[in-house]
């Protein structure tokens, strides 16, 4: 059984981000034209730049096996794990001109090396360990059944590479936002049957820092080299907040709950009603835009809404299928 495996080569142009915070006022890009083989990963290219072209070129790597999480960088703006990402795939995605940059340009220290302090601070802030009363002299093992272990939904496989964190648009805008990796870690412990933390779920439900400020762009799910699906974990944290009764009565929470209220009433959404229920008196701040929208025929009053046909079916299903309370 021998299928012939052909190694091919192609010429690729690399535009590589260079910066030394100790010496350079501004970063610059160095061009390297290289023959790339179909067997190589992005890390091989970084190595060859260092070994063949410029010994001062800096980047992080350790395990070379997608385990340590050190080597995450960006290729053409896409966060990626250098030791895992095949060059062939990168060329297929982006063509033969590739831009190699650190995960976050504004945090660059030297070339690909960034200051990841914010990432670790966020990680620390979600109580990233089991909170449990442990018998110091146990007589039996503290076992977790396979069924309970499944609840983690592989969140424990996160390698803290930061690829998702620095791909998240909210992290860039709101410096309090914990970010997708921290949320995945929070879920990992919240889902653990041994954990008794009283504060973690509340912390990740606070405004600005918490899950409710996630804009649902799916960038984190798209980049994660370990298929952790952080946005999926964020969704689960939302649900847990209701299950555990820690959902705050704020605009974000009412916004989620408001959909159900609208659906029961109309089948479809009552857009204005949803904003009113979510915002309460604060709705006044939306009035200037709402007025303009009204003049353009973009606002339908509650009595003008065309309800879903067979609304009774929807109402019956809402009654029989609801699983959450607020």
């Amino acid at each position: 059984m021998s299928t012939e495996h052909k190694i091919t080569t192609q010429k690729v142009n690399f535009k590589v981000f260079r910066f030394n915070a100790d010496e350079d006022y501004l970063p610059y890009y160095e061009n390297y034209d290289m023959e790339v083989t179909s067997e190589e990963v992005v890390l091989d290219i970084l190595n060859r730049i260092k070994w063949d072209h410029d010994g001062s070129f800096s980047y992080r790597r350790s395990c070379r096996h997608g385990i340590c999480g050190a080597c995450a960088i960006k290729v053409n703006g896409r966060s990626t794990l250098a030791c895992k990402e095949s060059m062939n795939d990168m060329v297929a995605l982006f063509g033969k001109e590739l831009v190699i940059e650190p995960l976050s340009i504004k945090r660059a220290v030297k070339d690909m090396v960034i200051d990841k302090a914010d990432f670790w601070e966020k990680h620390d802030a979600i109580t990233p360990y089991l909170v449990a009363e442990i018998d110091e002299n146990p007589t039996t093992e503290n076992l977790v059944s396979p069924k309970d272990a499944q609840k983690l939904d592989e969140a424990d496989l996160c390698i803290q590479c930061g690829a998702c964190h620095y791909a998240c648009p909210v992290v860039e805008i709101n410096e309090d936002f914990f970010g997708p990796a921290a949320f995945a870690a929070a879920y990992r412990f919240e889902a653990d049957v041994r954990d008794n933390s009283e504060s973690r779920l509340k912390d990740v439900n606070e405004e600005r820092q918490g899950v409710w400020d996630c804009v649902k762009c799916f960038e984190c799910a798209q980049v994660c080299p370990k298929d952790i699906d952080p946005i999926g974990k964020i969704t689960k944290l939302h649900q847990m907040a209701f299950q555990e009764g820690v959902a705050n009565n704020n605009v974000a929470v009412r916004h989620a709950v408001g959909f159900k209220k609208s659906i029961v009433k109309n089948g479809v959404l009552d857009e204005g009603g949803l904003v009113l229920y979510s915002e309460g008196p604060a709705i006044v701040k939306h009035l200037p835009v709402a007025f303009k929208m009204f003049t353009k025929g973009k606002i339908v009053p509650p009595w003008g809404i065309t309800k879903s046909e067979n609304l009774d079916e929807i109402q019956k299903l809402v009654k029989s299928s609801s699983t959450a309370k607020f």
Binding site: N76, G77, R78, L93, F94, P169, V170, I173, E207, C214, V215, K216, C217, F218, E219, A221, Q222, D229, T235, H238, Q239, F242, N250, A252, H255, A256, V257, F259, K260, S262, I263, G267, V268, L269, E271, V275, P288, V289, K292, M293, K296, G297, K298, I299, V300, I305, T306, S308, E309, N310, E313, I314, K316, L317, V318, S321, S322, T323, A324, F326
Partner: protein
């Protein structure tokens, strides 16, 4: 070629804050000879928020919507990226989990319905590209948009997570370098603008709880298109449209720069190229001036 026929899931926005999207969808379908059977029984998809509160309820409601498309034995077509995401994700979860599907069907049986998994779910953009075909579309263009630089704004929920999207649409879209909307612009005779924000987020889903974040994202998107020398923007998503069209004042304030461009729904752009009148396309329903016609 056989006439294309779909079950249309309009979503809520097209019936309320973006009436122009509904009008232009029908006008364009008419021009192209595509038959759309509106699913008037459908409920709201939950807009990617309901499942944060009640996942099972969200599944049941979305399964019900698809079940109605199945009754018609038609592919469901959506005209909103977020409807597409919620519906396709429901379908993916039910089709790959017999136990969950049985649980959902137990509920649907109470109202005499069943989710079978027989109807595909696709966004109108991909129905045109995958089923209708761009070559055929090109032949039908009567008013090529050749004098315009048009900035495509894809919207997150049509391109990410790509695993789901590529299972749903025949066109395999690269989320880092999507091409479908660019191809549509070119088929309409326009020039497509390349800019960094074209596959980024508009911020819609945190509009209420994180207005600053939402406004910065909207501002960046319009600014990117302006810097790319765009005459106008086009999007397949009514939620992106709402942000880009109605929130320019907040967006300008948030990024410290005046930003505004005409923003068209993908259907309106198609309609212009196919010879529909501005009135048929509801171009008078926009907040940002549509002054290029």
């Amino acid at each position: 070629m056989k006439k294309l026929k779909y079950a249309l899931f309009t979503g809520c926005t097209a019936k309320q804050s973006t009436p122009e999207q509904m009008m232009s969808t029908m006008a364009v379908a008419d021009k192209l000879g595509i038959e759309l059977v509106e699913l008037t029984e459908a409920s709201c998809c939950g807009a990617s928020h309901l499942q944060d509160y009640d996942d099972f309820l969200s599944l049941v409601l979305n399964a019900r919507n698809i079940a109605y498309a199945e009754k018609h034995e038609l592919t469901m077509v959506t005209i909103c990226n977020t409807c597409q995401l919620n519906t396709a994700m429901t379908k993916q979860r039910l089709d790959n989990n017999e136990e969950l599907k049985a649980k959902v069907n137990e509920k649907l049986a109470e109202v005499g319905l069943e989710y079978k998994g027989t109807s595909a779910v696709t966004h109108f953009l991909y129905a045109i590209i995958d089923d209708f075909g761009l070559d055929r579309l090109k032949e039908m263009v009567v008013t090529p948009l050749s004098q315009f630089n048009i900035a495509p704004f894809y919207g997150c929920h049509n391109i990410r997570p790509s695993e789901l999207q590529n299972e749903t649409h025949k066109t395999a879209e690269n989320p880092y370098n999507p091409t479908s909307l660019d191809d549509l612009i070119i088929a309409c005779g326009g020039e497509s603008v390349d800019y960094d924000e074209k596959n980024k987020c508009c911020g819609f889903h945190v509009e209420l709880q994180a207005p600053h974040t939402a406004a910065v994202l909207t501002g960046n998107a319009i600014a990117g298109a302006m810097d790319g020398n765009a005459d106008w923007m086009v999007t397949p998503c009514p939620l992106c449209h709402l942000k880009l069209d109605t929130q320019t004042a907040h967006a300008s304030e948030a990024i410290g720069r005046e930003v505004e461009l005409p923003v068209l729904h993908m259907q309106q752009m198609l309609g212009l190229a196919l010879g529909c009148t501005p009135a048929e396309l509801g171009l008078n329903h926009h907040l940002a001036k549509v002054d290029f016609i």
